[in-house]
């Protein structure tokens, strides 16, 4: 089984890399990009039966810094 984890900066936390992407898209002539946020995507191959709770613990203890980041988990 796989876990797909998205880590993103919390709302309200300045994301300078997202800002740079937003400006670059504007400079390239793409209209209508109101904001960009950059995050991380982490994919884990897991032994069958690994619980979502275990993945959640991995996120809280290492994969995301919950002071500044949110995370979401998809199991498949």
């Amino acid at each position: 089984m796989k876990a797909r984890i998205h880590v993103t900066l919390k709302n309200g936390v300045l994301d300078p890399q997202g800002k740079a992407i937003e400006h670059a898209l504007g400079n390239m002539g793409f209209d209508g990009v109101e904001a960009a946020r950059q995050g991380k995507y982490i994919e884990l191959d897991l032994a069958a039966g690994t619980s979502k709770e275990a993945v959640d613990e991995m996120c809280r203890k290492l994969l995301a810094n919950t002071v500044i980041e949110n995370y979401s988990i998809e199991l498949e």
Partner: protein
């Protein structure tokens, strides 16, 4: 004063820290590898600057979970003085020994130059040789030195005198220009500037030396 420098793979300032500690204290520090489960009893522990684990995942994230840090956290909680410089500061926030987090510089530029700092607290173990309100010069070299904490945490840090140093001018977007913070007990200091690179005139100045001397003054 017996000291230890923790050595993480990828760090490139561990020897700078060791040289500074030897020059100021007169004793070679013990270099402790990140996989060590235990090390000799010491009076002072330094977490050096410099891209441990290649800054993978987040700066300091891997080091904070390394074997040796379990022992460092235990000793810090027992009151042993711990200084984290640059990447060492990032490690300290990642372990939770210090509040907040260090984010990419707001300018997106790597900032590498001497900067002026305001001494915000001159009563702590690490800063008693300075005068609060005075300005000192210490170099910085970082890409991720933008200190972030929520408003309540920042108010609490300021209220409790836990801000040790501020940048005289905004260099990286850090909240309230914070360059260095202390834990509540005052035995853990994390700072982005590199005091170990400013310990004698040959290096451009001695303002960093005062920090190590402050610790020695208290510990003997």
């Amino acid at each position: 004063m017996k000291s230890a420098v923790i050595v993480f793979p990828g760090s490139n300032c561990d020897r700078d820290m060791a040289v500074a500690l030897e020059k100021v204290t007169g004793k070679k520090p013990e270099m402790v590898w990140h996989q060590s489960a235990d090390f000799e009893k010491v009076d002072f522990i330094a977490l050096p600057g410099g891209f441990s684990y290649g800054d993978y995942l987040r700066c300091g994230a891997m080091s904070a979970r390394s074997t040796v840090m379990k022992e460092v956290i235990k000793r810090a909680e027992a009151g042993v003085p711990v200084l984290g410089v640059c990447n060492g500061f990032q490690v300290l926030t990642e372990t939770g020994l210090l509040p907040g987090a260090l984010m990419r510089n707001a300018s997106l530029h790597f900032v590498c130059r001497d900067v002026e700092l305001e001494v915000a607290n001159d009563a702590s173990l690490f800063t008693n040789g300075y005068t609060a309100g005075s300005n000192i010069t210490i170099p910085v070299a970082h890409h991720d030195g933008n200190y972030y904490a929520d408003k309540e945490t920042l108010d609490a840090l300021e209220g409790e005198g836990q801000v040790a140093f501020r940048y005289a001018e905004d260099i990286n977007g850090a909240q309230r220009r914070i360059a260095g913070v202390l834990n509540k007990k005052g035995n853990v200091l994390g700072m982005m500037p590199h005091p170990e690179r400013m310990i004698e005139p040959a290096l451009g100045g001695s303002d960093g030396r005062v920090l190590f001397e402050s610790v020695m003054n208290r510990l003997g």
